[in-house]
Symmetry: C2
Subunit: 294 residues, 2 copies
């Protein structure tokens, strides 16, 4: 990683039509670059309303190839602005095989790499197993001109294994494009528990691995197309340092560009002070490759 | 696990002589049992001042066999009070082989099992690698009459692998006897970051695994015997539920008995709502058995 980089996250609603969502993203990426950002991250599947609220065969029409029309637009933008962009697309790999895929564009506009979401959720209102085949690219960070990016997507954020594997493969930071929100029918107490758990577990990935973590979520209410209660996306995007300390943090409703400097030396100092990587008991971790030890 | 149990943690200073420390522990265990606790946990190595502040050959005299004199006292107490006790002892296994070992006494006074600390720290003021051989019993929960206890010790608390392995082996809750504190020379800002990281990563183990977590730390300042700055043990013992929500929490200086009810059904409901165990990618986790993927 460069010794010091300026990173950013674009918290935005994504509940309009694709063209409007794309225009918002382009305007915000331009704003980020003009503010000095060398990297920017968009919310998960930022081109669309969160179509996984129902299982609807017609939504497969939204999928596109990588490279394709959208990667051409975003790649050109990355080259023009000289900024690394992390965007998540609904990938059509071949008819009948689709993924939830993050694409990383380098500052010259090339595709530096892609990550196919490995852990796929499925619960009421988030029917992702219907649409997305679990990724087959593993937990492989993506090399760019500014550093090695550990890009993961949303549901991955609940799995310490994913964060650790990206770290062991040399990631300089973890990046989580996200689409998560509240069920409006839940109590305020339950909503607070859920948001706090979401913040806590991702901050813990920073702590356990001694590196910065950036999470970028969408905002806004999106109604259910099938009579459920809809999703109130909770925003709260953040950037934390290698001790899990907040560097930048958005609230749950605002559209906002989060921007901050990250120094590579902070991770190294933190890992020397808190040498977890030194002490892992790899002789005794084989059970992690099992679902349950009966 | 029983459908509902009352658990407790004894936050106490441990910087007096062994007999005084033991008397404090016994009084507090009795208080816990009288208050209805069916399980209680003492801070790590509660019989001694934290002798690992220096590498001192004479301290090996403090080590004792398991079973031995102390387990007899605590076992008898467990039987008298009908309470499960988790205590950490400096174990002498054979001359030249010592461990940092948690012993679990069941309500009939028997030793239900023991756990030998797997991850051993070593940094200025915490010279544990000098004293303790890393455990060879693996991450195996201990069955008791009230449930299956995932007992880990202090430094283990920074490793998501340990929490996950205990969960996969069927632990009903995680328990961390601890001795951790501040370097008095650190800034208030750094102290806050460290304490917050400690709380955050353990709450994250609850969240990732959908089970309660109890951490029991000592309090009080213990001077360094070798001219370093000593350790200001930060207390802050806590019990959280399966979403990482605080149920009980001590401050950094008080001697206190933390007591609360845990319902087994909460873990089951939480895991059905947040089904991480369903979605782990065990086909892609082999890298966790490596120190680094070069």
């Amino acid at each position: 990683m460069k010794s010091r980089i300026t990173i950013s996250a674009i918290q935005q609603p994504c509940n309009a039509d694709r063209q409007t969502n794309l225009e918002i993203s382009i305007a915000k990426i331009t704003e980020a670059a003009n503010a000095g950002a060398e990297l920017t991250v968009l919310p998960e599947l930022h081109l669309e309303s969160y179509f996984c609220q129902s299982e609807d065969n017609s939504k497969f029409q939204l999928a596109e190839s990588i490279p394709g029309a959208t990667t051409k637009i975003l790649g050109d933008l990355a080259a023009t602005l000289k900024i690394v962009i992390v965007a998540t697309l609904f990938e059509k790999r071949t008819p009948g095989l689709y993924h939830n895929t993050a694409v990383v564009f380098d500052r010259d506009g090339s595709i530096a790499g892609k990550y196919r979401k490995m852990h796929i959720p499925d619960d009421p209102g988030y029917y992702e197993k219907y649409y997305f085949t679990p990724g087959d690219l593993g937990f492989t960070p993506i090399d760019t001109s500014i550093g090695r990016l550990g890009v993961l997507i949303c549901w991955d954020q609940w799995f310490p294994e994913a964060a650790r594997l990206m770290t062991l493969a040399g990631a300089d930071m973890l990046i989580y494009p996200t689409a998560i929100g509240w069920d409006p029918l839940d109590s305020e107490e339950e909503k607070n528990r859920q948001l706090d758990a979401w913040l806590t577990i991702q901050r813990a990935h920073a702590i356990a691995n001694g590196l910065p973590v950036l999470a970028c979520n969408r905002t806004g209410f999106e109604p259910s197309p099938c009579g459920q209660s809809g999703i109130d996306f909770w925003g709260s995007s953040f950037i934390v340092g290698p001790q899990g300390e907040f560097l930048q943090r958005a609230d749950s409703v605002e559209s906002r560009l989060l921007l901050c400097d990250i120094a590579a030396g902070n991770s190294e100092t933190t890992r020397q002070m808190w040498p977890y990587l030194r002490d892992r008991r790899i002789d005794s971790y084989h059970g992690l490759n099992r679902l349950f030890i009966d």
